[in-house]
Symmetry: none
Subunit: 124 residues, 4 copies
DNA sequence: GTGGTCTAGACCACC
DNA sequence: GTGGTCTAGACCACA
């Protein structure tokens, strides 16, 4: 896994798990790798992974069975999607719109470009 | 001014100045408020403002006349626009596209929504 | 059975057995369910139940006949009551008093509320 | 500070801060000691203190000014009181009532004892 | 085996 | 100076 420089690793780990949930790579009630496993897999200290899990637990995306491990919460996909969508709509989208205005970008060009990208990625 | 939680304050100050330049609120060779003025206006430590100005100076958006103050560089608007556009296209846009895919957002709906917003804002 | 988050499961199992003893649901020299039975009943690893039984045995609340099962000790009710009362008076009560002070709760209201609850529960 | 053996230190630190708020020893918008200060004061690793502060921040009892320190949130006292009272009423009180029934404790005796304690402590 | 807590110490960005 | 992140490693209780 390649970590972005300026974002805390533990949040990047959380994000990657959320994305796996959105992509149905992790299903609800499925066990995820243990803290130590994931730590060695990612070349990261177990404490860092734990912080990630703590965060995800605090927003009810995962739960733990004591002595067994962490599991994807039932309803996690819907919850993650809601959180992400909410943030996109209320925070990112206004920022995007502001930039489009500020930079005098043509929305039609942009829209076409995005559609093309989506098409490409879906067919790949 | 409301500062975002996760972005350094000095960068947010820089951004707001750049936005003013793009909006033609600050014109080239116009003097901007002094470090102390801006510090008290924003409720921020002058050191933080200073850092902001240092940054803007380093990317040639402002220049200083010693003992007089800081001024918008000639050509600043073009330069800022280039920097912002570059970042938008190469960093933000790919992230946006990824999210659109992940969240299964309809690009046509989105495009319409943005157009409507742009229309509204321009008429305001 | 709903387990509390922060208390070891094996102690919660022990507690529930002690409560049954205090309620005369388990009588002295009565056999209690086997480790495996209880494990499946509670959805818990047999090791955890075992640990519970070990603990109860160590404080002489149950005894085992090898090859037969675990049984409530003679005099268990008296012993459990003494242990619980001691803990209530010396540990819990001071904590309760501290909270009442801190939260500025009216002791008369509280006392009435408790009396009412006791009345209700006894009549049910 | 004497730490209880079986409760995480970081939660005990949080509790002690909440109690100071309830007792008006910390007032709203007052700065609390820095992580490092409190760490040395309590003979505890700064990381442990930070964990405490993270928790308190997550429940909006404190807030931070970047580069300056942590401060008691406006409205913290009311919020803490609500949290504590809620837990007392919904979790602790039912447990107390259960024990009183189970141990056949006389509610009147208990009430008198508590009143006496409250009287003593208030006059001390 | 699992997670949870804690320490020591380092390094960083920021104010 | 402040908080924030991360590592390394230890120890513990629990399942």
């Amino acid at each position: 896994m390649n970590f972005n420089e300026h974002k805390p690793i533990y949040l990047q780990i959380s994000d990657s798990i959320c994305e796996k949930i959105l992509n149905n790579e992790y299903l609800e009630d499925e066990r995820i790798p243990s803290i130590r496993e994931l730590g060695t897999m990612l070349g990261v200290n177990p404490n860092t992974v734990m912080r990630s899990f703590e965060y995800l637990k605090s927003i009810d995306v995962i739960y733990d069975k004591r002595g067994v491990g962490f599991f994807i919460s039932p309803d996690a996909r819907r919850a993650v999607k809601a959180i992400y969508k909410d943030e996109f709509m209320n925070t990112e989208l206004p920022a995007i719109i502001k930039k489009i205005k500020l930079l005098e970008i043509d929305i039609n060009d942009l829209s076409k470009k995005i559609s093309r990208e989506l098409g490409m990625k879906e067919s790949s």
